[in-house]
């Protein structure tokens, strides 16, 4: 396999990992953000958490694997992005820590104040994570100041530009909607009714934000800087989001979930094809951008890692798929059936 083939293969693999992460952890973040607003009683909150209880940790590993794979395949990208977005990623880590520990600890004490505190930490942690990830990706699409030594020269405020923030807020909105759809599939009874009402309202706001983001991206000309024109993909992404509204209004929960999931996947595909072959665009000088060619590992390392990835990714997909199948039943708020 040629060096260039491997570099492209790894760009695609990392894109797949991020897509997997946004698709799966997207609804986990959404469920987390909805938790204190949707669940009024303790059993309700526990039922909401249990819809993702058995899967959120495995879903989060997609992020860790995307990070690890970026380190292995594109060390320069890993080094520049994580050191460059330092404080943003620090806050992301704090958000992920808050959320993760709360899932495990919230029910381990009966004190309502203890539980309420952890529930809010889940919501805030999920919100913070979604916002920062969205802002980070919007900034990657926009480009960031990078010098000739592949070093990021901005700071936290460089990332807090209007486009970056719009990307962050839109991501939050999409994830909340995705989470609501997921809950519609997993809950029953009164909670399910409540979440269906929520989803209708959420869809309107989300769609407005999404269209604003699409228009800003188009006007700024972020489409046309890579080699690949995303073409109809972003149009399809918008179309499925509109279709999601139709299905939400008709209470076709399965279809609504699929449509928003597709929107997330297609948006990510748009992002990665807009970027390719750059991995981090330099706004200081386009020549100084990090690309799959100047940021990658050696051919030998990419070859070894390809064998590893092509062996283990199918295995992971198989057993993660199996767990979703095993826990496919709806969760009731009946105390006896709840796992704490």
């Amino acid at each position: 396999m040629s060096y260039e083939f491997l570099q492209i293969l790894w760009f695609i693999l990392i894109a797949v990992l991020w897509i997997g992460f946004f698709f799966l952890e997207g609804f986990d973040f959404g469920v987390g953000m909805l938790l204190p607003f949707l669940g009024k009683k303790d059993e309700e909150r526990r039922a909401i958490i249990n819809t993702i209880g058995s899967v959120w940790d495995g879903n989060e590993v997609w992020l860790l694997t995307a990070g690890g794979a970026t380190f292995a395949a594109f060390p320069e990208w890993y080094a520049t992005m994580f050191s460059g977005f330092y404080l943003a990623f620090f806050l992301l880590l704090v958000g992920l820590i808050m959320r993760g520990i709360s899932f495990e600890y919230r029910s381990k004490d009966a004190n309502p104040a203890w539980r309420n505190r952890f529930d809010w930490m889940i919501a805030i942690g999920s919100f913070l994570s979604a916002l920062l990830l969205g802002a980070a990706f919007a900034n990657l699409a926009r480009g960031v100041p990078i010098n000739a030594d592949k070093m990021f020269t901005g700071n936290l405020f460089t990332l807090l530009n209007p486009y970056g923030l719009l990307g962050g807020v839109t991501t939050v909105a999409i994830f909340v909607l995705h989470g609501a759809n997921f809950l519609g599939l997993k809950l029953e009874g009164e909670l399910r009714e409540r979440v269906n009402v929520f989803a209708k309202k959420l869809w309107i706001g989300t769609t407005v934000l999404y269209i604003a983001l699409a228009i800003s991206t188009y006007i700024a000309g972020f489409w046309s800087r890579g080699f690949v024109n995303p073409g109809v993909v972003p149009i399809a992404a918008l179309a499925v989001l509109l279709a999601a509204g139709y299905f939400i209004n008709r209470r076709m929960e399965g279809w609504a979930f699929i449509m928003v999931a597709l929107n997330i996947v297609l948006t990510q595909i748009t992002f990665f094809s807009m970027t390719f072959p750059n991995v981090m665009l330099s706004t200081t000088n386009l020549e100084w951008s990090l690309t799959i060619y100047n940021a990658s590992s050696s051919q030998y390392t990419l070859g070894v890692m390809s064998i590893v990835a092509l062996t283990f990714v199918p295995i992971v997909l198989a057993y993660q798929g199996w767990t979703y199948y095993m826990f496919r039943k709806r969760i009731s708020t009946d105390k006896k059936s709840l796992v704490y």
Partner: protein, 463 residues
């Protein structure tokens, strides 16, 4: 403080903290899997309770390891970008494989294990706890392969035009002998930690005459495994000594405070250095023992710090190649001393528990304290020794710590994150210790319910 010191401090704090919890996860997973297997085979309710009770403590501890582990995955890039650029071609691979092969396994099946009881076939539920134990230990193996490479870099070549080290032999990296001695030492240490936690909690209840059968059974298992595991830890450590003698003689000399080359070398019981830290003022020594630790015979030569410093200056250029000796010297003694105490204690437990009424014995009252603190202190000391003993290198002989740090960061960035991590991690510790204590004290019957607090109150129960 400057950027390098702050970055080192942060890495040290977050990593030592992370590693306070992980060894228990590594070891206790095997125990819980074993208990549940026994229950599956015998349908004896005691084994069920064993799996549930120790499983709850396992989960409370596991959660901290998971959330602090996320920081580990990213902080190489965040704080050590030049390191990541220079050796990412090699070092990134074990990290990515760790995530792909191990993190997915342990995280996915942990969820299955927590939520699966009574909902999925019993066999699948049993298999899931084994997957968790295997996954977490696999993850330790990959990160130790990565760390082993930093201690003893193999299978690489310097690419001058790219200005970095590149992997040329993946199999050399995964068969790095240094790393496998680490694996042996560390996985055994995990088992020892778990055994001593079980001993500590069991002793607490035995002294109070609560659930005697349950905790006597636990105590016995803890004592047997405690002895086997701490003996394995010792043998691994001893083998590591000989390997260090070959590959990192400076670390060896520094942990022993050997300034001048000795043949045969004596072991120092207590050494006081002068203020420059480069000369010995006074010491008590046992002849020959150091030679035994270093090369398994009683007469070999152990090189001194002064000679090695001169040799390294010639080899790598001007600089200070001596690690902070007060740290290496004392952490080595704490690690080894506590390790021996643990081994001795395990022998005593096995001997003393032959009396049927040992729950009345006085020595049992000391166990909860000793068995809790010694393993943690020994474990943290060992890692501080191995990492600080490598200074000034981040990758031995290849890259110095001062050249590895992210140059775009400011001290303000570092202060924000350092204070932030400290606050977050301290709160985690408070919650964790609170829950551990509560669940450990509540005993096995309470953990059979959803939560040890009976009748959980409702959130917003007014409506």
């Amino acid at each position: 403080m400057d950027l390098i010191t702050l970055s080192r401090l942060q890495f040290g704090l977050t990593t030592v903290y992370h590693w306070l919890f992980v060894p228990l996860t590594l070891g206790l997973g095997w125990f819980v899997a074993y208990f549940q297997t026994r229950y599956y085979q015998t349908k004896d309710e005691t084994w069920h309770k064993m799996a549930k009770f120790w499983g709850k403590l396992f989960l409370i501890n596991f959660a901290i390891g998971v959330v602090t582990g996320i920081v580990q995955e990213f902080q190489f890039g965040m704080n050590w970008s030049e390191y990541s650029r220079y050796v990412g071609d090699i070092f990134g691979a074990p990290l990515a494989i760790e995530a792909l092969m191990a993190f997915f396994l342990e995280s996915t099946f942990l969820g299955v294990w927590i939520f699966g009881e009574g909902k999925i076939p019993e066999k699948a539920h049993l298999a899931s706890i084994w997957m968790v134990a295997i996954g977490s230990n696999l993850s330790a193996i990959w990160i130790l392969l990565a760390n082993g490479w930093m201690q003893n870099p193999v299978g690489y070549a310097i690419n001058e035009s790219a200005g970095r080290a590149e992997m040329v032999d993946f199999f050399a990296i995964v068969s790095n002998p240094k790393a496998w001695i680490f694996v042996w030492h560390t996985l055994a240490d995990g088992l020892a930690m778990a055994a001593f936690l079980i001993l500590a909690v069991s002793a607490y209840h035995l002294v109070r005459k609560q659930n005697l059968d349950f905790f006597k059974c636990s105590f016995q298992i803890g004592a047997v495994m405690g002895l086997i595991a701490s003996a394995l830890v010792f043998l691994g450590g001893h083998t590591m000594g000989q390997f260090m003698y070959e590959s990192q003689p400076m670390k060896m000399a520094a942990l022993e405070a050997v300034w001048k080359t000795e043949e045969p070398a004596s072991f120092s019981l207590l050494t006081i250095g002068d203020l420059t830290g480069r000369q010995e003022v006074w010491s008590i020594r046992i002849p020959y023992v150091m030679s035994f630790l270093a090369c398994n015979n009683f007469t070999c030569e152990v090189k001194g710090v002064n000679e090695l410093q001169a040799q390294y200056e010639q080899q790598y250029g001007h600089g200070n190649y001596v690690p902070l000796m007060v740290i290496t010297y004392w952490t080595f003694r704490i690690m080894m001393g506590f390790g021996f105490i643990m081994m001795g204690a395990a022998v005593w437990f096995l001997y003393a528990t032959r009396r049927p009424d040992y729950e009345n014995a006085k020595w049992l009252k000391l166990v909860p304290f000793g068995a809790l603190f010694l393993p943690y202190l020994a474990n943290a000391s060992g890692w501080i020794l191995t990492e600080m003993g490598r200074q000034p290198w981040i990758v031995f002989g290849l890259l110095k710590v001062q050249d590895a740090v992210s140059p775009n960061l400011t001290t303000v960035d570092l202060l924000i994150s350092l204070i932030g991590y400290t606050v977050v991690y301290s709160s985690l510790a408070v919650a964790m210790v609170y829950l551990m204590k509560k669940y450990a004290i509540a005993g096995p019957d309470a953990t059979m319910h959803e939560s040890v607090d009976v009748a959980p109150a409702l959130v917003g129960s007014q409506d």
